[in-house]
Subunit: 596 residues, 2 copies
């Protein structure tokens, strides 16, 4: 596909549905207008489809490899990344005082969606670096910003996040990497780090000479021990190349222990990194001791939105490929026109139509969900009114696990259908959908598995804050459902019913003791809640599309909304079936049953 279809979708969502123009009311954005953003979207879209997309398949076929202890990336992708950095597209959300454009996250997210649709493996390099630089800009000292953020801003370095270890994935409070205090210098408290970090995307490459690692580790205390759990974690800036001032200018003590060979997402090197095999990697603490995980979560939350976004973007691309194929490929008779003398296009078969509608509902719903989250992020950061900022932050915090997991899980459903529309051809590497499916399978895993998101949603974001953000969301949904147009009245009524149902369900869970009991089936709750949220999104999209210039476009939104309410919304209640019986059914199953 060209980016045209996707850009039209993005424009609709940004301006007509989200009303992103109103962002200019916030002082931070007052000097910008849509023409600035459109120019950025034009350029980013053009690079996505013309520079990155051509290397989509090659990046899968010719995986990064280790040559003399360094990672070599597909040259075409290196070139595309250089174009991206030279064009300064990574500067969209960087503050103007650091040389950035200071654009809304909403706009940069929309641009990132196209890049991810075109080449998700390529997008990972810049996505991580952007998030890394934002952490540095927010929590670093001026000297740290100058030394470690500015090279990334200048496009001379890329950044990573180093959290997981071979034996520590979801439980980051247990990290085993150690940091020993090594003195103070102009860059702050200096440490020597030793440990191994696993699953490090873009952990090494030949795109830039330098790489800035943000490493979660435990500072060794004066008694030689460490503080257990999350409170014992601190965050360290560990550059691959040591800054000249006072430390020589050679390579830091960071080496590649190996590359992970993945099912998909192969264009992005994913590394096991050894820190400090030769005496200790030099790192400078960012933020206070013990604040590691808290600071990291700033980057993590942004990364979670981006994971969801990539799920949405790949589902969208798969949908676009599938509908194009279905409109052209002739195959069999349809039960709709039994009497047809000749075979008909796939598009005439009801089951193909159902799969396309499902993909449309998932891909567009997921994309809208991610853009909504991005807008909440802008409001939370920059709205003039404090109450607005707080509400937006609470809503975003509540929605983040949904934004991360719904597009991840449902994106796979959509891509599974995109393959199915192609029949046997979809199963071959000659067609892009099979790679999109493999690439997407990472999404329910990285940056917190779906199970982790579920516990975060039902536990931290609902039960342990007594349902306050949840009540805020219900208020929003009820308001939107009440304001929906007449032709959406039955969908609006169904949504209001769901509000009542969820309110009662959450009310019961809040009353239960201990609250943790419900967490045993948090995943079913997340699944149901995600569908509920997306039903709300769809009502809004269909409502906003009324009167669109292109009647087919508006009609498409209306049909997709109806499809989602007819096919998916009825499934919601049964998704939580295990909630009541969870303790018996999953907790109480004897171990012998599960282990042999």
């Amino acid at each position: 596909m060209s980016g045209n279809t996707m850009r039209r979708e993005i424009d609709f969502m940004l301006y007509r549905w989200l009303g992103t123009d109103d962002i200019r009311d916030m002082p931070y954005f007052q000097d910008q207008d849509r023409s600035d953003w459109d120019a950025f979207l034009d350029l980013s879209g053009s690079l996505s489809w013309n520079e990155f997309q051509p290397h989509f398949k090659a990046g899968d076929r010719d995986e990064p490899r280790l040559v003399d202890g360094r990672v070599r990336v597909l040259p075409g992708l290196v070139k595309a990344l250089h174009s991206y950095l030279e064009a300064g597209l990574h500067l969209a959300t960087v503050k103007p005082e650091l040389g950035g454009m200071g654009f809304p996250f909403t706009v940069s997210t929309a641009a990132m969606a196209e890049l991810m649709a075109a080449n998700v493996a390529g997008s990972a390099f810049v996505m991580l670096s952007i998030a890394n630089a934002r952490v540095l800009a927010e929590f670093g000292t001026p000297e740290q910003i100058e030394a470690f953020a500015m090279p990334q801003i200048a496009g001379k370095a890329l950044g990573t996040m180093c959290l997981s270890e071979p034996d520590v994935g979801s439980s980051l409070g247990d990290v085993d990497t150690r940091a020993r205090f090594d003195g103070e210098d102009a860059l702050g408290a200096r440490y020597r780090l030793t440990g191994r970090k696993m699953w490090i995307s873009a952990g090494d490459h030949d795109v830039t000479d330098d790489i800035v690692h943000l490493v979660l580790a435990k500072a060794v205390q004066s008694d030689g021990g460490t503080v257990p759990g999350a409170k014992g974690t601190s965050l360290f800036i560990v550059p691959a190349m040591l800054p000249a001032a006072g430390h020589g200018d050679g390579r830091n003590d960071v080496s590649i222990a190996g590359l992970n060979h993945k099912m998909g997402y192969r264009g992005t090197p994913n590394c096991l990194l050894n820190f400090g095999e030769d005496g200790g990697a030099l790192g400078w603490r960012i933020g206070a001791e013990g604040d590691g995980l808290r600071i990291m979560f700033q980057m993590m939350n942004e990364a979670r939105i981006n994971v969801g976004l990539s799920g949405a973007a790949m589902a969208y691309r798969g949908f676009d490929i599938a509908r194009t194929y279905a409109a052209e490929r002739v195959q069999g008779r349809s039960v709709l026109d039994k009497a047809a003398a000749k075979p008909v296009r796939l598009l005439r078969h009801p089951d193909i139509r159902r799969m396309l509608m499902s993909q449309k509902a998932i891909a567009e719903g997921a994309l809208a969900l991610c853009l909504k989250a991005a807008k909440l992020s802008d409001i939370a950061a920059h709205a003039g009114d404090e109450g607005k900022r707080r509400d937006a932050l609470n809503l975003l915090s509540l929605l983040t696990p949904v934004v991360k997991s719904w597009p991840s899980e449902q994106g796979l459903v959509a891509l599974n259908q995109a393959i199915q529309v192609h029949g046997g051809y979809g199963y071959t590497r000659d067609f892009d959908v099979e790679q999109l499916y493999r690439d997407s399978r990472l999404n329910p895993i990285h940056e917190g598995t779906t199970g982790i998101q579920a516990i975060d949603l039902l536990g931290r974001k609902i039960l342990f804050e007594d349902g306050r953000s949840f009540a805020l969301l219900l208020g929003e949904i009820r308001r939107d459902a009440g304001a929906a147009g007449q032709e959406l009245s039955s969908e609006a009524a169904a949504l209001l019913d769901l509000c009542d149902w969820f309110e009662a369900l959450v009310g019961d869970l809040l009353k239960a003791e201990p609250k943790e009991a419900a967490l045993a089936n948090a995943t079913g709750f997340l699944e149901a809640f995600g569908h509920f949220v997306v039903a709300w999104i769809w009502l809004g999209l269909a409502d906003a599309a009324r009167g669109h210039d292109d009647p087919a476009f508006a009609e498409g939104k209306l049909w997709a909304c109806r499809y989602f309410f007819a096919a998916e919304v009825p499934r919601i209640r049964s998704m939580t079936a295990l909630l009541a019986s969870a303790r018996e059914l999953t907790a109480a199953v004897p171990e012998a049953v599960l282990s042999a």
Copy 2:
């Protein structure tokens, strides 16, 4: 895994649940007993795990390749296949008068499950050849059997099925391959075939010198035309090597136009074959002109059971790998033991437990479903009582689309969870689950897509025979539910409710005009019906396990049954949500909405 766990499961299902011993009451099997079958299962299991399984990953990594116009298969797999053929394991169901063992299909299916779990790509060679030889044995003349079945029985040739073409997948009545009459000889009516056949598994290889293709084509009529649709198809035996008698002994006019490069299932070469580029491939018609598709469906129905079986087998292996991993891997604290000072094994996390229970319910339920179908096939072929044979055939015919599609679709769900249990590791090629997931993705496509199965089930197997087989099934389910033990009473009651609900639903669909209207949402019906059937299977498994020697085994069946009824059965009704509105929602969506 070794085969031990799976074999125990198979023994339970074969003997305790299905009571396969009673097959000996049928005259055809009277000279056999369990010790014969067990010896065969022992040998087949041993070869599966010791000869085939070691090449599981290499078969994926080192795909078959074209060398000088011929396909080379991984040498280790060739050797394993030779061992299999030399041991005569492919003879299990071949009639004794042709040199086979004449074993029940139930028993050979159980053995095939282990082979598929160990190495599905390897299993495809023999599975296809066995089905091919059975078609020859049933429909061929004595001369055709001697010339084309006996070499396969002797292990000197393997067989294929050649149905699809580049432009004809699901709509086999539209095949474009032509057969021109070329005279009669000792092997029957001889034709020259020209055309291209796509997706031919084991279409060429270096396992055996000869390959016997069964090719669906249209016989050219005296007016130079062909008969449109299925009635115009005939079946032809096209050997890769021409039989010596009268036709020289060179290669037939069949060539490899290319190999398909697939997402998974890579160990099996999948070919585009050209027939008759050099004047016409010689082929002998099997059966009457116009009977091609009808005869082919004998092979196809067997292949459909085998596709379901492979889905079940791979899900089972993934489950076994996942539970072993979960019992060993230590990671994080569980919401069940918040106070634990140290990280716990994955098995302590409720969400991991849920995913294991789900995999158990799917893998074992799917395996049992396939064995049930195999037993129906034996009864339909060999029961002494005609009424029993007819009922079994009708039930098997009704269940075949479920047997094909439920393990295919749900097997992917289970393997998705098996990956998820492994976290990031499950996404790497270092672990077998990612390959099982890729291999399994073929199952909803080949031998009739899920959408095709759905139309077959709701159309041909229910609506167009006025629900007679469906009523037969309801009778069986109600009988079993009525006889279930006390500890399963709530599950039995839920199953009886479902019987009533489905009876009413089908009753409504039977009354609707035109009946075809319902087919527009047949897939949702298939999904719901599959869950319903497997709920019945699970009630039976749990019931049969009561009093098992190993209490943990019996307890496992009981918990899995409860899990399926608690987590999955509540989803059934909503799966058919679209049935009522299907014509509007899928048929009536304007084409502009779907195509751009």
